[in-house]
Symmetry: C2
Subunit: 305 residues, 2 copies
């Protein structure tokens, strides 16, 4: 089944303790699309400027991502630059240039409107609803957001959340969104606004999944070399929604598996700069890391105590 | 099998957003002992002052903890006071009075010297070795430490670690100890100094266990009400070492189970002030929470991808 994703396509300039890369392809919808493409058909909705060369489309084409919804307009493509310190846990944003993204009005091609899965990437919650209203009959809607929208457009965001099945955010965002330090309590409040499930990303500390009557926790995959954390959250979302779309079910067991596939994709993504690792990933490697997650988290039932 | 534990017995004054308690029984060896007593016989080595009343011994007696190694000397008992903010993740120490702890020289009663399990609580690494040298033939030695010893007595600490099987510290301590931000790398370095296993406590984010050729990760138990985090790390160590002593084995599967029992004890401990929750805990409740951990972390092998 196919996934419609709306979000940013950008040129990133990233500096980490291990190196530097300038004007490389990035953006939330880019990372999401490539990660999700290992599981499902992906239909991309985003905007780029006149400076977006044909060669930049190559990676989308190679992964059979539908780019008919990628508008190209006069002006410059969205640019972000950031830097990671020693601990690699949080990007310090050095510069954000919205450029063509500033006046982005998503237009959904007619061939996209029957998408059964929708991922509303981190854009203005009003635009998120605009996109959603153009999809005929989605089976599952997942959504991301960020501190900027929580602080500046909370009421609009809540209107969007009322239409969303699964919210995927990080722990700081869950706390900011609710004013609740305790994530279990925060998850209840967020789910009272609409989402049936909340996925809380905790970076190197893993992921929590909160649903009615079921909580799932998984650690992050322990890597000796984390090269560039940019896009980890979006790669997670891509693997997560991608697997759900592939499975076509949303029962507890399937959503838990999707969390692990999301974690698998995030763990690969941080192993190299930009999309380099995801670009060269094989299904066999994904399968193997899923099994390694099983080993990582396995403990036996205890009969002795 | 019995566990010898050396560490602090203290009077704590604790303030959290949910309440306040003054001069309540605490200390690393206290939390460790009570938690471990649900699994094994515990022999306590510590020092208290003349102000330590008989009634303070009640909780140790009730849990059949051997207190023949608890010295009572003239002076005041060790006191600590701290405060937790909204996020409850880190104590701000308001005051530390070492008192009788300052000149503590652990003396191990002869009846303790055949203990097969030893837990060296967070005290001066020189004293940790002094204790260990008085134990005849320990099967397993586990150890804790803190930033103070890492900064002031690193070489002494490394000499102690050379004699230790399992080091149990938090993530900030693991990073400080090695200067390595990456925990997988830090664990390798620490294990090159002696310990066969490193347990990294991450508070609300769970625990990582690093051994040769095996890494285990477990989330913390999600609680809606965290009342007082004091003693969580020591309760973890008590459940962890307590279960290992009960099992009498140190294979991979057993150590993983021990991590879960440690996490179970820590999760109970934070549900109420001081020792209140551990004091009133039943084996049935421990057993049930272990099973809940299984549900929390369970996901299926995937045959579809």
């Amino acid at each position: 089944m196919s996934i419609l994703v709306v979000g940013s396509v950008a040129f990133d300039s990233v500096k980490t303790p291990f190196g530097e890369a300038k004007e490389i392809l990035g953006g939330s919808a880019t990372y999401f699309s490539i990660a999700a493409s290992f599981f499902s058909v992906v239909k991309l909705v985003a905007v780029v400027g006149a400076d977006f060369a044909d060669e930049n489309l190559e990676v989308f084409r190679k992964h059979a991502i539908d780019t008919r919804g990628l508008q190209q307009v006069p002006g410059r493509t969205f640019r972000w630059s950031g830097e990671y310190g020693f601990a690699l846990n949080e990007a310090k944003t050095l510069d954000t240039q919205l450029n063509v993204f500033e006046s982005f009005r998503p237009e959904i091609p007619d061939t996209y409107r029957d998408s059964e899965y929708v991922f509303l990437g981190n854009i203005d919650p009003i635009l998120q609803r605009e996109v959603l209203s153009q999809v005929r009959k989605p089976k599952l809607v997942a959504c991301d957001t960020m501190n900027y929208w929580i602080q500046s457009k909370l009421e609009e965001l809540k209107k969007t959340l009322a239409l969303v099945d699964i919210l995927i955010i990080n722990d700081a965002e869950a706390r900011m969104l609710t004013g609740q330090s305790n994530l279990t309590k925060a998850s209840k409040e967020i789910r009272s606004w609409g989402p049936k499930a909340l996925v809380v990303k905790k970076g190197e500390y893993g992921v929590g999944l909160f649903m009615d009557g079921s909580i799932f926790g998984a650690p992050a995959f322990p890597l000796e070399e984390v090269f560039d954390p940019t896009g980890a959250g979006d790669s997670f979302a891509g693997g997560f929604v991608g697997y759900l779309a592939k499975a076509g079910r949303f029962d507890d067991a399937t959503i838990r598996k999707a969390v692990i596939y999301g974690s698998v994709m995030a763990s690969f993504n941080v192993e190299d700069f930009s999309l380099n690792r995801l670009k060269n990933l094989s299904s066999a490697a994904i399968k193997q890391r899923y099994q390694e997650f099983k080993q990582l988290t396995h403990f036996e039932v205890d009969e002795e105590f």
